[in-house]
């Protein structure tokens, strides 16, 4: 009798897990980042797939009030113009002209690739949000960001249905990418203002990405190019994965 009771419970648990699995599988991301057979990268892929499959999608990160704004360290590259690279030299020239000649190129799997000047980005509907920036190092800071929703920019060029990821590069030679769920998130913006002023150079002038559902490292500063791609692109030797970092930083 006892065994029969146990079997029924076990069957109930199995059925429950199976239906949860079926729901999860239906929402599983269509493409996963490569793991190169590396056990840590496999763990990252499990976390990414599980978050995408199990969590409600595109929920907004908490927003704060002006009184909550805190001090904000600038780390990593704080002045790309100080770099002795081609892009560093170009950045210096653009900065000298108050970024009037700066343009953001949007290309790849789009219907009409084009560039946006700073003034053109500012002509698109603007959005201001006060959010928490969480650094992978462990610290956090609250700041106010003003910019244009990335989805407006992507709508303007028209995403091809086959596109899966957005690759973005910066004037300090960083490269990174996100899936389109994050790219089209309502709080994902191209920010040109911080705490009510123009975005300062240490925080990514003239335009940086703000991606509020991943750690700060994904919100690249000093944006240069956005490219829509059909297949996962690890960014090569400048990308996170080949540098020993997780690609997905939603955790």
């Amino acid at each position: 009798m006892k065994n029969r009771g146990l079997l029924t419970r076990r069957a109930a648990i199995t059925a429950g897990l199976a239906s949860l699995g079926a729901v999860a599988f239906a929402r599983y991301p269509r493409e996963l980042p490569p793991t190169y057979g590396h056990i840590l990268r496999m763990g990252d892929a499990v976390t990414y797939a599980a978050q995408r499959a199990l969590l409600p999608r595109q929920k907004r990160a908490r927003e704060y009030s002006r009184a909550d704004i805190t001090s904000f360290p600038a780390i990593g590259t704080t002045d790309p113009g100080a770099r002795k690279t081609d892009l560093g030299e170009e950045y210096r020239r653009l900065q000298a002209g108050a970024f009037k000649d700066w343009t953001l190129s949007v290309e790849g799997s789009v219907k009409s690739p084009r560039t946006f000047s700073l003034a053109e980005l500012k002509d698109l509907p603007s959005q201001t949000q006060i959010t928490r920036h969480a650094c992978e190092e462990g610290w956090s800071a609250i700041g106010e960001w003003t910019g244009v929703q990335l989805r407006h920019v992507l709508d303007a060029v028209g995403i091809q249905p086959r596109a899966r990821f957005l690759v973005y590069t910066a004037y300090d030679d960083w490269i990174d990418s996100i899936d389109l769920l994050d790219a089209l998130h309502p709080q994902t913006i191209l920010a040109y203002g911080m705490n009510g002023r123009e975005l300062p150079v240490p925080h990514g002038a003239p335009v940086r990405l703000r991606l509020e559902t991943q750690l700060g490292a994904k919100s690249l500063k000093f944006l240069h190019t956005l490219t829509l791609v059909d297949e996962f692109n690890d960014g090569g030797p400048e990308g996170a994965i080949q540098n020993g970092w997780s690609w997905y930083m939603g955790i």
């Binding site: 763990g43 499990v46 990160a61 600038a74 992978e136 462990g138 997780s246 955790i251």
Partner: protein
């Protein structure tokens, strides 16, 4: 010598059920990996705060003297760092290269966390459905009579931990400790860990409210880890003190002198 046999010399001693033995060692390996990778992550920023935000330009609750980043970080035009937010929020560029091994530290931490969360849930569900917690872990109301509790505390304080043959398998303080770990500390460490995930806290903002913010969750996460570390130390000392060989047999292959058929009667 006392007449009462020590806890593991009691005649009622049995091996732990197989699902307990398997989950014990998976969870032990996971917790050890989480502890090592967690300390590596903490070394990148060994300062703890309360609330939503905290960084090198803000005062800390405590700065832990672990690793090269302890009181090491400097900012352009701000030396020494003023821990004073009265002048309003400021921004400054960091000029120091810091110790940061989070590339592997974080990924290893989250990989190991899967081996805490999934086997931990299986353990909790199995324990509940099989009545394991009720029978062995959760203190019985009869045991909670104040004179008995007092006797247990007094005996432990004098390191006089002897059991009588008719005592339950686990002592009362042992049940308190195991119940605390299973029902309080482990769920708390997992939930505060998840609260630090920006995607999870966007999906479930009540977690931020519950723990008082991102940095509070991080501080509680660390405090719970310290509590679990202390538990583990006492646990290992007690295992050694009460007969390391017998205890290890009971948690691995089972007692040598008994036929295996009798092992699972305690389920």
């Amino acid at each position: 010598m006392s007449e009462a046999p020590s806890v593991l010399e009691s005649p009622g001693m049995r091996a732990h059920p197989r699902w307990v033995r398997i989950s014990h060692w998976i969870l032990a390996a996971s917790v050890l990996t989480l502890a090592v990778s967690g300390v590596v992550i903490l070394m990148a920023h060994p300062r703890l705060y309360w609330g939503e935000a905290g960084n090198d330009l803000m005062p800390a609750l405590v700065e832990l003297p672990i690793g090269p980043n302890y009181r090491h970080v400097e900012f352009e035009g701000r030396a020494p760092i003023r821990q004073d937010d009265a002048a309003g929020p400021v921004s400054a560029s960091r000029t120091t290269d810091i110790f940061n091994q989070n590339g592997w530290g974080r990924s290893l931490h989250f990989l190991a966390a899967w081996f805490l969360v999934v086997p931990g849930l299986v353990y909790l569900l199995t324990g509940m459905f099989r009545g394991h917690f009720r029978a062995h872990i959760w203190p019985q109301s009869l045991e909670l009579a104040p004179p008995l509790v007092w006797r247990e505390v007094r005996d432990h304080a004098r390191f006089r931990i002897r059991r009588r043959p008719d005592d339950p398998e686990y002592g009362l303080l042992q049940k308190f400790a195991y119940s605390f770990v299973v029902f309080v500390a482990a769920p708390l460490v997992v939930l505060t860990g998840l609260t630090m995930s920006p995607t999870v806290s966007a999906a479930f903002p009540f977690l931020l409210t519950l723990f008082g913010g991102f940095q509070s969750a991080r501080t509680i996460h660390f405090a719970t880890f310290v509590t679990l570390l202390l538990f583990t130390l006492v646990h290992v000392v007690m295992v050694i003190a009460s007969g390391f060989g017998r205890q290890m047999r009971a948690m691995t292959i089972g007692p040598s002198a008994r036929p295996s058929g009798s092992l699972r009667t305690g389920n």
